[in-house]
Symmetry: D2
Subunit: 338 residues, 4 copies
């Protein structure tokens, strides 16, 4: 941590800072520039974490030097995390594909989706049983009945299941049926939920909050990791910007950024990221080219009659074409696909 | 709802739309312009809410006409909502002030704050017992012990209590001690929490999500209202923008906007809204001038040693000066203060 | 400037940095922490301004300590700048009001506006003769003819004139007729224009760019100041955010922020800032309460037939009511009005 | 255009609207829903462009149906625009690469860059002679001397030249030396500049403004096209968001969006888009996978000593490796490279 003093800071004010640091067993260096005095703090910064140094007399600003997360950082763990689910490895040489409808609507809709995405090459079936919706009057999901349908689809096709868990109450229930617990963008900083999921060993797909910085996102992962669950993968799904043509702005630069800062696998959701099915294939291909470890894509047998997010869903036919293209791109960047 | 057809839409495609509308018992008008055909839908749009009309063949875009919330709208309820807590009315002629530390840290810190804000003119004591923090390594609050201290402070000073409830589990507990349940910005779309709080009758302070549009915020209020709890007040606390000088960008235009769109009271939090205590008095005064019904302000007896948000906390002395100024502004816009 | 080295930086890499600093006659302090080595640079940072230290071997990041502008900063000039235009002082005890139509459309429209705003208490007449418009097919202004009408209106009413100059070619022409040259938001970083206006002595109203940080805005002012023109006032006119209910998000916290960072006067434009005339009075009052030195407000005798920005224009009647309210608010914060 | 009336609009108010439309020779359809009355306007909307219908009595809001640009739209011109510069075609089957230093600094630096990027496979040399810089104290470019060096480099290597023109004065000068005129992000809405460049026939690289919507960007292109210059290519270079890890957020979804809305070629600038050279290769590959027609990349023989943007510049060695990877990706999406 670096403490920048006011241009007019007095000796007494500087002493106030250094006394505080000494009292916390922290060392320091004072650097007197022509325009500012800067104090570099040495030692374990955690002791200072909750001290509002920036309002001490004579202080102009405080600049953190070290990232605030630890277990999620590549500095702490240089080798990439590989999450194994039965015979599937996420974060390894292979690109994984998760696909299926936004919401589980009926046995027929789900099974038709499952068979289609399985045949096209997906390893995971996605589908929401609990749906977070902006309006209380929108379809809220089939709940446990939906989970059971997902499990049936798994038995029928061999696809693993990824589905959202929206609150602490539902963790146990969802864990019975799902292979990956999805934490939605709106819950990225639902800290109670993060901590409880951290106490399980279930693989977690942590979606980026709609206006979360990369640092906040990695801190959210840290909540899960610090409770003991190491099986965290990060899912870029678009951030909120001023642009309204797309539903969100898919931030693909987050892929190489996360790869640099962290060891966790990165999955991309081009369906929510754009909100427009016609843009999904381009962005799916771009994600793989940029280094993503996998994709999660909405596929619906009849998007026009979907109860949720039909506008961003691919038909099974379009998904099949996309998977063929993705294989070519994956190979072009030296990755395997299926 | 207005459906805009593609410039090249065929008769058959138009028929596809009108057949769907008819099958849902919805009426329509077709308006053939020089460049586009537009279909206006007549009837209860809820029947269309989950239909992705925008991907039907020949459709270019779909434009909603009516706001998606109902109980929260001024169209539905023209007169302002006044929330009564014992002898205090929120949303009425009087400006209310809620003040206190970000987090309850100790009996001494809390009582000193409580006495100071009471003397300066506040009617509510704020203070977090459960703290949502970006990093898992930051102070997370005193939990029930903190709630008990708040209750003691209430008995001592007569101040009402406003404090955050972070998850469904804690609603019952927090309700025992608090007069107003605060829903934090990160939980604005924690729909499980909104619904459960909607089942109580407790007054609610619903903070705006850090990147929530006004429409999403009113929909979040709708979740609470639609469960039967009418005592909702909205709290503007700054939105996330590209500007980093301030912690958030306090959107004061939300005050007159909410007053136009909704009947719910509006409270402003200039402490989180700016993150800088030196900016708090200016923005508190501006809030009242713009028509806010109240303020929630961080006050700490010793900001330099605060365990949370010290940089944005006023000292009791500065808060007292501010209250005097606020009274003058309140009177200048025809409102009462204290 | 503080240079943070990689956690694994070698002695050689550190030497690479210190050798560079020495070669530029800059001093330094090395601070070895437990997790990072930090190098504080001493001396005139301008010598380093264009050196990409951050990509030197072993460097993790570089953190500037001193603001990048100088003449615009309050550190450099602690006393507030007061701009005198004949008998009117801007940035002093008095609140100034600039009002009039978005665009000069006709002699009648302009004169009717001028008389109305004069009677209500404005000291300046605003009105565009050159109009920057998003679409090339929108009304682009009356150009020199419009300028002449503004000058006639000045002679008739005694109002001073503020009007936009869009390119270098037009500076001389506009200066003949205007008392204040307005630089529009889209031109805030039109550096050729800033430099040329810096060579005149004309007072300048520098609008904030639609996505300009406060620091970039002050740097734009620095371009003008560094050419010798000290008569710069800053105009907050709303920034672009994700919120679409308002045309822009008026950032009133920029008022106290600028007052802290700079000595230049601050004017607020609530008309562009909100885009909705019903929100203008609330935000105008809030601006004065927050410490603004003046306002620039769109007033049109017949907003429904305005050729530009009618939706955000007040009628003369509403403007007159607003001015009475503003006087009360101005007095409440210890300022004079008219 | 669709006009939505207030829920309480009177017959008289509706008549006010329809009378206005009739007086402009526009037709209309009235659609009376349960909650709102909607008026669909028929005919040439240009006649309404500058009428603020939204403030007429009884009007709630006005919704445009047709995009505001015409010549830039794919509706107007379905086949893609191909820009031919000597033997190079932009917007065709081949991917073009423009590369070179941010700023022309010296003959040696430029020639070394030019030879390197030529050998690696670039067809265009980029390099700024006039540099827009946030601070007036940063290096501002070599101006005409720099242009002459670019021209020499062209004669030496056969590379075509792309370089920025910052104001109207410089168009003629820059056109003497350049093959493509670049309009920088800060000047995207410098309408005087757009119009003047529209009067030339020179190919133009129009960078997206830092906070420009896709619609505003296409309208900026419309300014150039409507003056008669059809040789416009659009350059995505990142937009401003809340994320600060990257310099900007590169919006790759703009590539398929532009391809859908417009016929103009799309070039991507991953150097400014990320600000971090380590992220450039990933984003360059992603751009091609997403359908871009070309790239513009910063390459500097000695990034550590670059006078501008060194942190985002590739070395010649890294650029050469990237070009090999790009060729593979280009082929994977069915495009040619070199």
């Amino acid at each position: 941590m670096v403490i920048v003093m006011d241009v007019n800071a007095t000796e007494e004010q500087i002493l106030g800072i250094t006394d505080l640091l000494s009292s916390l067993n922290l060392g320091y260096h004072i650097s007197k520039g022509e325009e500012r005095i800067v104090i570099g703090v040495i030692g374990d910064k955690k002791r200072l974490q909750d001290k509002p140094i920036e309002i001490m007399d004579g202080v102009e600003k405080v600049i953190p030097i070290v990232e605030s997360y630890k277990l999620a950082s590549r500095t702490f763990k240089p080798e990439p995390t590989i999450i194994q689910i039965d015979d599937i490895k996420i974060g390894d040489q292979n690109i994984v594909v998760m696909a299926g409808p936004c919401a589980v609507e009926s046995r027929e809709q789900l099974f038709e989706s499952a068979i289609a995405v399985k045949n096209a090459g997906a390893q995971f079936l996605r589908g929401g049983a609990f749906k977070p919706r902006t309006s209380p009057y929108s379809f809220q999901g089939l709940e446990e009945e939906g989970l059971k349908m997902l499990f049936e689809a798994k038995q029928m096709t061999g696809l693993k299941i990824v589905t959202e868990v929206m609150d602490v109450h539902a963790i146990e229930l969802v864990s019975k049926y799902a292979d990956i617990l999805q934490i939605g963008a709106r819950n990225m900083q639902n800290f109670s939920l993060l901590k409880e999921i951290g106490k399980t060993k279930k693989p977690v797909l942590l979606k980026r909050g709609i206006s979360a910085t990369i640092e906040e996102w990695l801190n959210a992962a840290e909540y899960i990791l610090s409770e003991g669950n190491k099986n965290v993968m990060l899912c870029e799904r678009g951030i909120r910007t001023f642009e309204t043509y797309t539903r969100n702005t898919l931030d693909l630069s987050a892929i190489p950024a996360i790869k640099k800062l962290s060891h966790l696998p990165v999955i991309v959701d081009p369906s929510h990221g754009t909100g427009l099915w016609k843009l999904v294939p381009s962005m799916a291909k771009a994600s793989i080219a940029a280094g993503a470890d996998g994709l999660i894509i909405e596929v619906h047998p009849d998007p026009k009659n979907a109860l949720s997010d039909g506008a961003q869903s691919l038909t099974p036919g379009n998904f099949e074409i996309l998977c063929k293209d993705l294989k070519i791109i994956a190979n072009a960047v030296g990755r395997d696909f299926i």
